[in-house]
Amino acid sequence: MIADAKSTSTPMVNLTINDRPLSVPQGTNLIEAAAKLGIHVPHYCYHPKLTVVGNCRMCLIEMGTPQIEPDKKSVLKPDGPPEITWMPRPQIACATLVSEGMAVRTHSKMVEECRKGVMEFLLINHPLDCPICDQAGECRLQEYSVDYGTGGSRFVERKVKRPKKVELGPRVTLDDERCILCSRCVRFCQEVAKDDVLGFTDRGGHTTLGCYPGKKLENNYSLNTVDICPVGALTSSDFRFQMRVWFLKEARSVCTSCATGCNITVGSREGVVYRYTPRQNDAVNSTWMCDAGRLNYAWINDPRRLTRPLKNGQSAEWSDALPDARHLLREAGMKGQLAIVASGRASTEELFLVRQMAALFPAAAVDIVGRTGGHDQILVSADKNPNTSGAKLLGLATGKLAEIKKGIESGRIKTLFVQGENLEKAGFEAGLLAKLDALVVLDILPSPTTQMATWVLPGAAHVEKNGTFINGRGRLQRFLPSFSVKGHAHEDWYILKELLPEAEHTQYHSFHSVFEAMVRETPALAGVAWEGVGDQGTPLDLKL
């Protein structure tokens, strides 16, 4: 954000907005300056992360400059403040930068009249689609219609018809009649996604948004255009007609699809996740996220989710599962026949408990399953585990996976504990796992590995529990639950602490006690507090 660029070299500028004095860095525009005072200047086309074009005309304000005498001194009013020369016509706040002594009125009579005029023009050709429009409830046009719209329309002519239900690409659906021509999506594709495919054709009321002939809006960031569209013109084909936004309960979370750890808001209703949307964090993802990460949530709603402990595939009780699994692990540990495959998708707290387990039983070898894939220059990281850094910090990413595999082959490893991983994808064939005496798996979905397991312990998805990930740049970020765990499953920290030797159980009475123990025993996390991590995360000084 321009307004946040506070450096010693940027001189500060003094101005008054609605008679309230304010000092902001030079180069700040009036929308951002007013926001510092908590004043919202209505706008459609302005977006803090995109260039200013000033084409919606909604952010009109009244401004004036101090009167200057020939000797360059301000003319003062009898009671002290400088005399202001108000400009006779309104200016757009987004493209007007602050200047010394400037005076601004954001809600004067003239300004309100202008906004009402702009709203009337915008609504002339806008269809009455609100009952079927996905944007309803989070639509700027609806909000400003309440503030500045008229109850009825003076327009008696026929509304202009434009294309509806246009598939711009595999993930974005366009309704041209709803478009107010703010061009945010066009600028996003040019400036952020670097995939210049959108543009306007025709003129006046017939201006139509569309893709260049022969091209599609199919880049991996296309769904951000849906987020920044202030109206319901661009809608997500995935979320289209699935749920009205006012039903969605929102929880602050972190994307699990790669090591970037984009901050997200999870929208869910009654235990079903409907969408992920990016949440602003300028240190990580700005206000964007990739389409692949955004659409990677269906597994949470999977009807096959594990909701009961399973013993050799048969439903069982926790009261049998936990002591029996603990016994199996301890016996194998004492004989030196235990290995643990942890997960880079688990939270740092869970990995901390796995490390405790590996140290106390003890395990002959521990490792995580690495995942790599394509990356780009914008957000996507090649490391597809959200918490590889956490595993490295706790010393669990040892690179001994091949050794564990050999150990099983040679019969040296007899018991394996697997945390949320499908080992078939890591090169452990069913025949290999069949050589084990016992296989204890903590997971949320059935996989070839859970089918082979002696005990399957059902855990929770990240939207069902608290936790932290450490992203690829060493930023500790927390995620919060949207809803509670499904069926008879438990949060993972609870299962993991129950698997530890009995003497260790009482010290971990809640998730937060695990977090605190982890902070206490990890030097790199010294001084970190759960509240202090906040919604924006905290950078760690890691030497990985």
Binding site: C130, K164, K165, F241, R244, W246, F247
Partner: protein, 185 residues
């Protein structure tokens, strides 16, 4: 803070209760003789049924409910046979006892009303939960939901009293439409 209320101290004749019983008998006999008088003269008044009797042989006989009565909510179609509901879910949101559950769906492209784009795949009103408040009718931006005068529903199971889309449309029938809002989309 506690408010202390003193019990009234009764006099000796009040403690006998006979004066209170006599007062009750007086009220009852007044109504009795008034009714007998009305019956003899054939005068009808108040809530007495068409036969002049005070009681009514429900369910063969039923109250004539006033026009403003709020009974069961139903879904209606327009004269072209289009389901007027577009699954905006405002009624689901406003419903105080959460009796309404809607599953929205895009209208398949080959249907004549596909320009409306959205309709309910399933629309359920749990009549065991419904409190007949009429907020769903009031909030509907498409005039697709109407409350009938029917108030009595009988079923042998809880499932039977959850009205689904077919049942609601069957109850609601067709309504005249002045606007045909979606016709020229």
């Amino acid at each position: 803070m506690t408010i202390k209320i003193e019990r009234p101290v009764l006099k000796w004749h009040e403690n006998l209760y006979f004066p209170a019983i006599w007062g009750g008998i007086k009220v009852t006999s007044r109504h009795f003789w008034k009714t007998v008088g009305n019956w003899i003269s054939g005068k009808k008044y108040g809530m007495i049924t068409s036969t002049g009797r005070v009681t009514m042989e429900y369910p063969e006989e039923k109250w004539a409910v006033p026009n403003e009565y709020r009974g069961a909510p139903t879904l209606v179609k327009d004269p072209d046979g289009r389901i007027k509901c577009v699954a905006c879910q405002l009624c689901e949101f406003v419903c105080p006892p959460r009796a309404i559950t809607i599953t929205p769906e895009p209208i398949p492209g080959q249907l004549p009303n596909a320009t409306v784009e959205k309709w309910p795949k399933e629309f359920e009103i749990d009549m065991l939960r419904c409190i007949y408040c009429g907020l769903c009718e009031e909030v509907c931006p498409e005039e697709a939901i109407f409350l009938l005068k029917d108030y009595s529903f009988v079923g042998e199971s809880r499932e039977e009293l959850v009205h689904n889309k077919e049942r609601l449309l069957e109850l609601g029938g067709m309504r005249q439409d002045k606007i045909y809002k979606w016709k020229n989309k």
